[in-house]
Point group: C2
Chain length 301, copies 2
């Protein structure tokens, strides 16, 4: 009997819902706008689930599992979500609310961790992987032998707040020189004030046009991403680092910069060269709902 699962990725602006079958085959997909505030987020999830279920021609109660990925601190056991700043709430018992509304067990996970599991399956990886999410913030999700590796206190992969420069920029976390200050959307927006809704794209445009400040910001972004890859490999020794998140949509233009940094490093360090970092780096497949698929897989646990 084929298992059918629903996965929902609740993002800051958009919500992505999918139905997947066995072997994580994508069967249906539906996108909607995310509401703001705790009740609007619950409504968004309920509509997204009902909609994608109707596309599949199956009542919600007929699905084997439902999983949700959402930005914020998630308690996987209770399905509670805290500090979802971009969604406009500080605390929400999302799992319990959805279960009572839908009559089906719902599993909730942090969106980066969900995307990590989704990317691992979409790329057909084995062994271990870190999914390096370059979004508003910088964080990684770690997957070992097909399972999420959460760590002892659920902070595994929170490398955005590792400082790598004592004279670096100050970080809202209270430290200085954190990776997130140079290699994230928020970090770049602080360095490049603009009316453009996509500051990072604007920086890349200006850098291409030869603007010195933009070239410096683009350079420190590439350095930061390369440092993140190095930290993930030297600490957790994951076989593959997959780059994802909003900034990964810069695509090859970003990856070329990051590979150039890693290659330069390897030229001056046999030790780094032996780690073979450029060839261990991958990019999330474009236009695939990694986080929603990962959420569906988490729901299945």
């Amino acid at each position: 009997v084929e298992l059918v699962r629903i996965g929902v990725d609740i993002g800051g602006t958009k919500t992505d819902a999918v139905v997947i079958g066995d072997e994580t085959v994508l069967m249906q997909r539906a996108r909607s706008v995310t509401g703001f505030g705790s009740q609007a987020v619950v409504e968004t999830a309920v509509s997204a689930i009902s909609h994608v279920a109707s596309l599949a021609g199956t009542p919600v109660a007929g699905f084997d599992s439902i999983g949700i990925g959402i930005p914020g601190m998630v308690d996987g056991h209770t399905g509670g979500v805290r500090h979802a700043v971009n969604l406009g709430f500080d605390a929400l018992e999302l799992g319990a609310e959805l279960q009572s509304r839908l009559g089906v067990r719902v599993q909730v996970e942090n969106d980066v961790k969900a995307a990590a599991l989704g990317a691992y399956h979409l790329l057909g990886l084995a062994s271990s992987m870190a999914y390096l999410n370059l979004g508003t913030g910088l964080a990684a999700g770690i997957v070992v032998d097909g399972e999420l590796w959460r760590g002892a206190r659920a902070t595994a992969g929170e490398i955005g707040h590792i400082p790598v420069d004592p004279n670096g920029l100050s970080c809202p976390c209270g430290q200085r020189g954190c990776l997130e200050t140079v290699a994230s959307g928020s970090g770049i927006a602080r360095q490049w004030p603009t009316e453009d809704p996509h500051p990072v794209r604007d920086v890349f445009r200006a850098a291409r046009a030869g603007d010195a400040a933009a070239m410096r910001i683009r350079g420190s972004l590439a350095d930061g991403v390369a440092s993140a890859v190095r930290i993930l490999v030297l600490t957790a020794d994951v076989e593959t680092v997959v780059i994802g998140g909003g900034l990964s949509h810069l695509g090859e233009e970003l990856m070329v910069e990051v590979r150039a940094v890693l290659t330069t490093w390897a030229e001056s360090s046999l030790f780094l060269a032996s780690l073979d970092l450029p060839s261990r780096m991958r990019v999330t497949p474009e236009n695939t709902p990694a986080a929603a698929i990962g959420a569906a897989l988490i729901g299945a646990v």
Copy 2:
């Protein structure tokens, strides 16, 4: 029936051999001087094993397992050791040589990884742990749920070569500002030229006497150790970080400095404060042969 195991820690100067019973109870221990060069190292191991076996009143063939911990790159499958610079050889099929000499299966592991497993058991830990070895170099061994976590390419925990300061000291690995340049015996020896065979102790003595350069070196050592703890928790999220290795013999004097750094950091960052780093740090029990006991446990796998 009680299992009896032999574990041997082959160090740069001394070799420590133990016999342990069930529940890792230490039954016998013998120390000897390590020979220099591949054949001398094999002879050292054979004598240490024969000696500790005779102390236990059991022929070598009567033991359930034999494990060896040794500095260098170890292939756990073949028992081959490479790049054992401090022991005077570049390549040695240690496992195979010992098995043919002793007629018993011998398991070989890197000494820091062996010490990690030993410390985990000696401290009665559960969940996950990183053993941060502050010796000639700086590296960590990671244990999750009682098992060594080697990573995809056996570089898990090689955090000594993570740079944390772009303007830091140059490192023999070819990079700049690596943790090892400030938080290891070799790193401190390069900063503090002295005839004293224990440069780190000499630095601490001079720092106590008010020497400004020594106080700066001691400060950067404490910063480096604290940074290593932060990296291990934010990447691998181990519950506990155990400080071990030659520099850990500085004991409370070093730990006071490191705790002070972590406490200062927590005062300016709620995020860091939430990680509770000072209370997650432990020191290896003094005068216990953690690496030899860990080697015995590895032999048992």
